[in-house]
């Protein structure tokens, strides 16, 4: 039988801790922890605990990334805004108008809040310090979903009634573009800018049924693509049209699905099942699940991380 050295070309390395020079599949001995370990590549992601929000809420808007995010508005009707630094949430200046069911896009330092309670068309721009009112949506609505930046956003779906209306933000104005194929609300959305978008799940029209349908926007039209594995409503998502995550549901659920640009795959669950939560993140590699109802309002934040290099301890 061939030895390890004959197969791999080296003897087993003796190293104090995780061996930084390890290559795919290489075994080493961790002399500090007295474990045999090896490294392998994986795209498996998990949820871990993030900082708790100061004000638990549902139906809020969010923007940003796993380590730098913004949370604003929500139910009970509030204008409160909180900023996340990767560890904790800090209250910052309020929205100009308190509302829930508000859409969000952008980053922690440059975000957009639009729509909300009472079919509002209000749009506010976050400078990193303050919210300033800018030009309204053409079609006011709540439960509006979106993806993009503070200068380039695609906004779609919403209520009431059920909306298929899609609008593109160019940094100054909203312009109506082609509708979703299926009008819906309580969906989730993702997108990098106003040239792409992903709308998934929600409650459709007609029928008022919870759906798994997913549509992708190519800068001109929406096209139906592969469905979520489960129907979902009042859940959340983040990412882009080619790399997204979906999580939560009503009734409350911890189920999470990952979009790779073609298919949805079930991945690791949230630790705390919930609904009507917020999400922030720019790809399925990392992001946040924020607050929501479980079924009581929760302050919990969970951080999604997808690991590419994993160290496996063989002697566990």
């Amino acid at each position: 039988m061939a030895t390890y050295k004959q197969n791999v070309g080296t003897t087993v390395v003796n190293y104090a801790g995780n061996y930084p020079g390890a290559v795919e599949g290489e075994l080493w001995y961790d002399s500090t922890n007295k474990d045999f370990k090896y490294q392998f590549s994986t795209a498996v992601g998990v949820w871990s605990s993030g900082g708790n929000v100061n004000t638990a809420r549902i139906n809020s808007g969010a923007a940003g990334t796993k380590s730098a995010a913004l949370l604003f508005g929500g139910t009970p009707t509030t204008a409160k805004t909180e900023s996340y630094n990767g560890t904790s949430w800090t209250e910052v200046n309020d929205l100009g108008t308190a509302r829930y069911g508000v859409g969000g896009s952008g980053l922690q330092t440059a975000a957009l809040a639009f729509g909300g309670t009472g079919n509002s068309a209000l749009t506010e721009l976050w400078s990193g310090t303050n919210w300033t009112e800018v030009n309204d949506l053409n079609t006011g609505r709540q439960q509006i979903k979106a993806g993009g930046t503070s200068t380039s956003t695609l906004a779609f779906s919403g209520w009431s009634p059920y909306f298929a209306v899609t609008e593109s933000w160019n940094g100054t104005n909203w312009t109506e573009v082609n509708d979703l194929n299926e009008a819906r609300y309580y969906a989730a959305g993702a997108g990098a800018d106003n040239t792409e978008g992903l709308c998934f799940g929600g409650i459709d029209q007609p029928g008022g049924s919870k759906v798994a349908n997913t549509e992708s926007y190519n800068g001109t039209n929406w096209t139906e693509v592969n469905n979520l594995n489960a129907t979902r409503q009042a859940f959340s998502g983040f990412g882009s049209a080619t790399s997204a995550l979906a999580f939560g549901n009503e009734p409350v659920s911890a189920a999470t699905e990952l979009w790779n640009g073609t298919n949805w795959t079930e991945v690791a669950d949230l630790a705390t099942a919930r609904k009507e939560l917020a999400g922030a993140g720019t790809s399925n590699a990392g992001g946040l699940a924020i607050s929501g109802a479980a079924p009581s309002y929760t302050t919990a934040t969970e951080e999604w991380s997808s690991t590419t290099n994993t160290v496996k301890t063989l002697t566990d």
Binding site: G50, Y186, A234, A271, E276, T301, D316
Partner: protein
């Protein structure tokens, strides 16, 4: 029959409560009443309970805590107006049955 899960009560303090490595190693489930489920007879589950200073509960004790929380949420829901109850996103909180 050997149990599959163990339960504890611990308050989620936020960042670091469940860290990335712990989540990679075992599966956590949180329930109302700060009840947490982790695998039984598992080194990493035991280490996590110790880290969060969790109070270990039998399954029946944990179930009683969850039931009290769910029943309180159900009573709150029952007290709502018919209009509030008609909101499709406002379904009555369901009973939760913990696993052995």
């Amino acid at each position: 029959m050997a149990k599959t899960y163990q339960y504890c009560v611990a308050e989620n303090w936020g960042k670091g409560f469940i860290d990335h490595d712990e989540s990679h190693r075992i599966t956590f489930k949180g329930y109302p009443g700060n009840v947490w489920q982790v695998p039984a007879y598992n080194k990493h589950g035991n280490l996590w309970i110790a880290k969060v200073a969790g109070t270990v509960k039998t399954k029946d004790e944990a179930q009683a805590i969850v039931n009290a929380e769910v029943q309180a949420a159900q009573a709150t829901w029952d007290a709502q107006t018919d209009e509030e109850k008609a909101d499709p996103m406002n379904t009555r909180p369901s009973d939760i049955t913990l696993e052995e």
